[in-house]
Point group: C2
Chain length 189, copies 2
């Protein structure tokens, strides 16, 4: 994904040595043709797996997860971050820390939308400590569904999320790996 | 959009005479090929307008807004519902009531992402009282940008949002109009 690296160098801002602000590309918007290329790349990498649904977490994961689901021709489900649904018994709920919000949030998926027959590909935008991805993995376990793999646009390899998920035995594919944000510079692996 | 009407009759649930639950299609997931058809339809309807950006509100508006932006080949911007960005001065912020949440929320768009040169198409999933859409219109005014139009997937015409926006002089295009949810039935116009 050389085009993605180019766009990151052009449009992302290093906030500090832990945080990259990627508003126009991921967190607050999207360049649709680039996002569709990302979705195609995930679909290509996971094409040998049985996948019946793509699952992501609102909001920044939605565009790239949508494109992946479009390419694979399967439904998209996006977990919600807090309860807006009417009945507790209708949802799977997992409490996780939010890296960017500095607080605990509940990830919620309606029981109707993931069944034990599903084989799920998780797609998300950025992995730092991996709390959101771990929460989604836990929800898929609660639903009795199969986890086909995890696709992440940006992995900050100096944080532990990707490593943790791989040690758990998950297949994790990342489009771009960032090994450092020191001194205001994005350094790719 | 006959296919959308068919899918609504198949997958949506009438919660009460005001609220339609459309989890699998809009609020909690998407059927990507249907969503892409919606985006194509909005792009077709607004093709005579100058449009430089598509703007929506997290989260349920993102898939259809993404597809519209993809078809029009312009960037997508999604407003965030609360402050996760670092600095107040960097964002436009408007406080609006949230129909589904029963509380006030702040809609936020980074100043970097909308400029006075922009001509914006707003896309959202459902219009009830129109508070979210009005909030987005207000942000576009604050940014000094031009509003090219508003596209809404589902308009509940027994509520006032669509009427209010049209009276304001906005061009509003809706894919499906619902005139009643009485007695647990979806009645289309």
């Amino acid at each position: 994904m050389d085009l993605l690296k180019e766009m990151l160098l052009k449009e992302a801002t290093v906030v500090n040595s832990d945080v990259l602000k990627v508003d126009s590309l991921l967190n607050h918007g999207a360049h649709p043709r680039l996002t569709m290329e990302m979705g195609r790349e995930f679909a290509r990498r996971f094409k040998g797996e049985k996948i019946t649904k793509v699952v992501t977490l609102e909001s920044s994961g939605i565009p790239v997860a949508f494109c992946t689901a479009y390419e694979l021709d399967v439904p998209l489900v996006f977990a919600r971050r807090k309860k807006t649904l009417p009945d507790d018994e209708e949802v799977y709920s997992v409490r996780v820390p939010s890296y960017t919000r500095g607080m605990m949030t509940d990830l919620i998926i309606s029981r109707e939308l993931i069944t034990p027959e599903d084989s799920v590909l998780i797609i998300d935008d950025i992995i730092a400590n991996g709390d959101a991805a771990k929460g989604l993995v836990r929800i898929i376990e609660l639903a009795g569904a199969c986890l086909a793999g995890i696709g992440i646009v940006l992995e900050k390899t100096f944080q532990t999320g990707g490593k943790w998920l791989r040690e758990l035995g998950c297949r994790v594919e990342t489009l771009v790996k960032i090994k450092s944000l020191e001194n205001g510079q994005i350094v790719f692996e």
